[in-house]
Symmetry: C2
Subunit: 371 residues, 2 copies
């Protein structure tokens, strides 16, 4: 019998959902290792060798608590970005920062506007703090900027979420459109602008940083182009009065010492970053060719993954995914209506794309032949 | 002008407090490095060599997201503790788990009973979720179990916090007293039992684990005896219906891959743990002798630090701290009335205790001579 002290009313009503099943959980479920890890938009090109050296050199120091002010990393980021340290908060990945941002702005009953099929972890955190989601369908394969603005005004939303470049479709709006979008939102509504894939975007996609802008909080990460997903390190850029408020609620010692050391080393290796970005572009091109050869159609991408139109219904796309899983290939797909006939494949080096190239045509064939 | 979208009413009222100033911040403030890092109860005896090897070996893998289920680590902990995996949640240190536990049980207006001068991060999280603290003074140098029970009943508290062994005084209650304490609490009140120093406690201090007990949540950490403070890894042990609820609100990918790898390796080196525990006991004995030689009186300790009675008032103890800081020695002191004439010194190897031994008598002398 369950007879524990009662949870809060909010928690008691929350479902035990999990935003994502990790590849390790799939391996336990499958009973064998993943052969090609192409589903989590990790950087299969790995971290900089300087990161690896820094992690090893710092390993004997893990008895020390991390610097709760993340001082060195914030200073390095500020220098790189041309803003003040006060414009930057460091956190446990974008997921961690997103939870804090929601907690700052969203109380029970408040509304958050996002796109139908956008990043589910945002929705998870909004529900976790009692907010409710207003979901706007994509316009084709891009987030519907006009629709999002209209929904924000109509619903009295306190926050709007936009990922640019976008996940899961890989699409992108130019900076001018994003800036106009921010300006068109209600004045009491925060734009949470997720730029996780920013380093991979075309040069005209990221609006210039404006340290005086108070209604936009931008989220970036070391998980994608920098290849540090395992270390959980992201940062928020915004007005000091917003960014500074993280200090009222965050886990001050939460950003791991190894994460801080690695992020600093990663910032210091521009050459590696360039190589990764070039390698990802080449890998995405190859994924597109593999998709074409299998009779599918890849979308252009501004990220480290490719969304592929399977050109039939959601069930068909799901069957392709299941067939790929039988071959030990881990990929994911969008689930929202309108996006659910797509699958999403992450960039990877040629050895993994060889596995993909061999498996995808067969998976499509088997999915077509299924009863 | 500050004109950002409005925070929630709760956040708008929160002060910009910081539970602890880290030693790195002190170094920036002092403009020179800390000579003896004796204030944060870190394990100056360091992590196991197996941890260092594991961190280096795993460094090239940091491009992978961590396993969000913390499966291997939870399984190893379950085996070690003789409970099910469902009894264990892994989180970003006790600080991170504490925030989640507060969020599960404490809504705006709910009361949490703790000791006056106990771990301030608990109070920080309680305030952060709108709860209020009912603080019970220590009884001498131990937490006042009877007083805490009475306060819980009187205030209708939803949570009681007890650290056993205790921080900042290093004192400890035997397991039988802790069990009786848990049984005497109101049935709708959770006991949050902080056992951060559990590996350093006398064998009779930790109550046996009872996986069916629903009103106690126990918190443990790799930050103290295991020497992994920089990696932020702790765990909660409790009934599956309580522990499982963390999945409704936690940052699922929050526990860093390096932290999981290191914690597993640390569990695998019992010999290192034994050596650390013996070394800490010897160091605490030496700190007591150093205190005596300086005319102060050390308390017995069940932890990796020693509380030292400076035998005058809070201002005198504070002057000793300031004099130590002038010599580059980082220590902390309790601030609560009744405890504020004490200072608190963490165990360390002899090279740092040599610095302490040289500095403490002079610091006491200068504090006595101060106008």
């Amino acid at each position: 019998m369950t007879d524990h002290p009662p949870f809060t009313a909010l928690v008691a009503d929350l479902p035990a959902t999990v935003p994502f099943v990790g590849p390790e959980a799939l391996e336990r479920q499958w009973g064998r290792p993943v052969q090609a890890r192409l589903g989590a938009n990790e950087s299969r090109f790995g971290p900089s060798p300087r990161v690896i050296d820094a992690l090893c050199s710092a390993a004997p120091d893990v008895w020390r608590y991390p610097d709760p002010e993340n001082f060195d990393l914030r200073r390095a980021l500020a220098n790189r970005l041309g803003v003040d340290m006060g414009n930057i908060a460091v956190g446990e990945g974008i997921d961690g920062l997103m939870a804090l941002a929601v907690r700052l702005f969203i109380a029970a009953g408040d509304r958050v506007v996002t796109s139908l099929g956008a990043y589910p972890t945002l929705n998870y955190h909004v529900a976790g703090f009692g907010g409710s989601i207003v979901a706007v369908p994509y316009s084709g394969v891009r987030e519907d900027l006009e629709g999002l603005v209209a929904a924000a005004h109509r619903s009295g939303a306190r926050m709007v979420y936009l990922a640019n470049p976008d996940n899961p479709m890989g699409s992108c709006w130019p900076a001018t459109e994003v800036a106009a979008f921010a300006a068109a939102l209600p004045s009491d509504c925060l734009l949470l602008l997720d730029e996780a894939y920013g380093e991979l975007a075309p040069p005209d996609a990221l609006p210039p940083l404006d340290p005086d802008q108070q209604n936009v909080l931008r989220l970036r990460t070391f998980s994608k182009a920098f290849g540090l997903a395992g270390l959980r390190c992201g940062y928020a850029i915004g007005h000091p009065s917003v960014v500074g408020a993280f200090d009222r609620i965050r886990n001050h010692f939460g950003v791991n010492r190894q994460a801080q050391v690695a992020a600093l080393a990663a910032l210091d290796d521009a050459e590696h970053l360039d190589w990764v970005v070039r390698s990802i572009r080449a890998a995405c091109d190859r994924i597109s060719s593999i998709a074409s050869a299998a009779g599918l159609e890849a979308l252009p991408t501004a990220t480290n993954f490719v969304a592929i139109d399977c050109q039939r219904d959601a069930a068909f796309a799901q069957r392709i995914l299941a067939e790929m899983a039988r071959d030990g290939i881990f990929i994911r797909k969008p689930m929202a209506p309108g996006l659910d006939r797509y699958i999403r494949i992450s960039a990877a080096p040629d050895d993994e794309l060889d596995i993909l190239a061999a498996a995808l045509p067969l998976a499509v064939q088997r999915a077509q032949d299924a009863p």
